[in-house]
């Protein structure tokens, strides 16, 4: 590839590098702001001018995971704080009365995310294999139909789904949300996995079939191991989508099955949003996705374009 004419000069590389690094630094500022605000006290968080250097505090995280009430001086004097986190809330004459809802909401995100990811990758792998290897009647139409389900605005589908879930008793349940997210993710799973399976040479299975394997065995013992990387990255994309989804969660869940995205903006402190707690909640919620993004970086393009662009 590299040769004297098409290779950029060192000076061009320097200029390009400085511009891109500059953009990158600006673009991650809001993310850094989320990470740091989580470790500020509420007073530091709303200070003017905004504080870049501050004394780190775990108040945001304590507030995120607990519910607190204000108590009288007599009560506080009679009950000295037992732990470091009780110590922190004492500053405001408060005591911890129990855990907050954040843990449950986070757990809901985990259950619904993993449940729907498993289902959509399982069903998607089967369908993708069939589309890749067999002459399915109306194949192109079916594939396009699967993709077109992604064009619907979620709010438009939410109306009948709301009614349907209400009559089936699926409103605000894990099962309902898992099925819904599976249906949304399956188009991505089928399209991505078809691309990955297309890349596995047919000769492998044909050899296995000649050796006496049945189709199922050939699929299970030959194709699946070959497609493992593709399946793993598809799974991460499905997981990230289900993890980030907001519209359906906000409209169809309110309590038992509510996930973290509709919950985090409702974290309220004294006099408005408790920004350090919101930032702490966002950090706990966003960092896993950042880690997955870094793991996935080689397949990122494929995932976000439904397999249309491959590097």
């Amino acid at each position: 590839m590299s040769n004297s004419i098409t290779e950029p000069t060192p000076r061009q590389k320097w200029v390009a590098g400085i511009l891109v690094v500059g953009y990158a630094l600006v673009t991650i500022l809001p993310l850094i702001w989320i990470l740091t605000t989580g470790f500020k006290t509420p007073a530091d968080a709303i200070a003017y001018p905004p504080k870049v250097i501050f004394e780190p505090s775990l108040e945001g995280y304590v507030n995120l995971f607990t519910t607190r009430t204000r108590q009288t001086q007599e009560f506080l004097a009679a009950h000295p704080p037992q732990t470091w986190y009780e110590e922190i809330v004492r500053k405001y004459d408060m005591v911890i009365v129990g855990p907050s809802r954040y843990g449950e909401r986070f757990l809901n995100s985990v259950i619904i995310g993993f449940g729907s990811t498993f289902l959509s990758v399982f069903l998607g792998t089967l369908a993708a294999y069939a589309f890749s290897r067999f002459k399915v009647p109306l194949k192109d139409d079916l594939l396009f139909f699967i993709l077109s389900t992604r064009m619907m605005p979620p709010i438009a589908v939410a109306i009948p789904i709301f009614l349907m879930f209400r009559s089936l008793g699926l409103s605000d349940t894990h099962l309902g949300m898992i099925l819904l997210y599976t249906a949304v993710n399956i188009s991505l799973a089928v399209w991505l996995l078809k691309g990955f399976i297309d890349e596995i040479p047919r000769e492998y299975e044909e050899a296995a079939l000649i050796d006496g394997y049945t189709r199922f065995q050939a699929f299970y013992k030959v194709v699946l191991p070959q497609a493992a990387t593709g399946i793993a990255s598809t799974a991460i994309f499905c997981l990230i989508f289900a993890w980030n989804e907001y519209a359906f969660a906000a409209l169809l869940t309110s309590g038992t099955a509510q996930t973290a995205p509709p919950f985090i903006p409702t974290i309220i402190g004294v006099g408005g949003q408790d920004w350090p707690a919101v930032a702490a909640g966002a950090t706990v919620f966003l960092v896993p996705v950042m880690v997955f993004t870094i793991i996935l970086r080689k397949h990122l393009l494929r995932g976000i374009t439904f397999g249309a662009v491959r590097k």
């Binding site: 993310l31 702001w33 389900t149 605005p153 949003q273 966002a282 870094i294």
Partner: protein
Amino acid sequence: MFDSPMQRAARATPPEIARRIRGLSDRTVAWIFVSPTILLLLAVNIFPLIWTINLSFTNFRANRPNRAIEYVGFENYQRILTDGDIWLTMQATAHFLFWTILLQVLIGFTLAWLINRKFKGNDLWTTIIVLPMMLSPAVVGNFWTFLYQPQIGFFNYIVSFFTGVDPASFQMIGDVPLAPWAIVIVDTWMWTPFVMLICLAGLRSIPGYIYEAAEIDRASRWRQFWTITLPMVLPFLMLAVLFRGIENFKMFDLVVQLTGGGPGSTTELTSINLKREAFEKWRTGYASAYAVILFVTIFGLASIYVKALNKVKER
């Protein structure tokens, strides 16, 4: 040698067919593999779609499920298409679509072009730039309301630092002229990397020998850009625009958390407007007609666009 008829038949059977007899036929396997997906989509996508179409001809209200449903014909459609507020919503959506796509294409392409200079560490910085796009739009959108706070907000502080404007003098979210730009800024921040990644793939797909040939022909750098780089990246760029167009036409989570459609209804994009009709005013029949119109619009525009895209690809 005398073979039994069975053995003779077995030898005459092509191996292809013999294999099929041993296990299930490929056709059966194909159906077993495809049908769960299709059934799920029929149940969760197509059935609701048909239900929506049906509801769109009624005056049904989901908060009064026991009231008798009356069929009203095309009344809902008529009311939507003649409603002035809906056209305001469409204008807000068009403003949002136009500026986000324009900015993301310009910045995204430029970044990709720069990253393609292959400076040291470009992979690391690409990954950092990509981060915002993978995060939950609702959670990030909510946090941006904090950055946009007058006086204490970090965004206002930065603007005031560079321009000297009083940071308490403007509210990105609260001021009518600024709010449409507040959502454009956050969407551009979030999704420019998407366009960038696709453009980068396009740039990397151009073989170096084309540029060598152009050099031999003494084509200027400028001319090379317009006659080689841009035309060859164009199909990729158009694909990126298609994805961003569909996504931003549906835009809900980010904007609802940022501005909630306000102030007034300056940033009330179609999805937010639809949510108000369906889940706040509970005009289910009316909202269903609205949903059908939106879907037909997206689907129609996307189909026309894909045809154009294919023409560009064929060139």
